[in-house]
Symmetry: C2
């Protein structure tokens, strides 16, 4: 796909989808915009809800915009708050439970967007 | 490189480096953490300062955490504020001037981290 002309958008204009665990996801930048390598998602986790607990063969790079979570990475749980970043390596079992309403940026390889959203 | 055990860190603990134009960059997650595909940076742009104006053969995916910028993408300038995202495609001429003190997340391929930071 051609990389296109680039884009400025507001996240609240992007469709929000429910995730397993009660978190909600907006796919901000994907292959549909011509992104060649990675995809940016904004995930909201209401207090008491969580992102899916699972593992997969690709990494996450996460930034906590606001809120507070308990992040499971394999056999440990670490607290992460506003201004923190989280690296989930490939194949690590992981998930996040929100202690407060939380918003995070979470990056995945663009092939994951293609698989999950279709072309 | 082995992907390692994963990591939670606070951005204020990461060394801040000056960029051309007066912006300041923190490389939050890189190949040094075992990231296989992409690298997460936090960039602060004080009011009136800017990120470098240039082009390169890789993309940026940007999220505006706070502030307001005028973003040049090739031959146009668009305003971007808190909650907005920006996709800079490969080879587009680009740069951002801050209208207010601004913080952004900016993702690049991990090879860029390796080239700019060394192994």
């Amino acid at each position: 796909m051609k990389a296109g002309k680039g884009k400025v958008g507001n996240s609240s204009d992007v469709e929000e989808k429910e995730m397993e665990g009660g978190a909600r996801i907006r796919w901000l930048i994907t292959h549909r915009d011509g992104a060649p390598n990675f995809s940016m998602r904004l995930i909201s986790i209401p207090e008491g809800k969580n992102t899916p607990f699972h593992s997969h063969n690709y990494e996450h790079e996460i930034f906590i915009i606001e809120g507070k979570v308990n992040a499971t990475i394999d056999d440990r749980v670490e607290e992460a708050v506003e201004g923190d970043f989280v690296f989930i390596p490939p194949n690590a079992y992981h998930g996040m439970v929100a202690e407060k309403d939380t918003r995070i940026i979470c990056i995945v390889p663009v092939d994951v967007a293609r698989q999950m959203l279709g072309n």
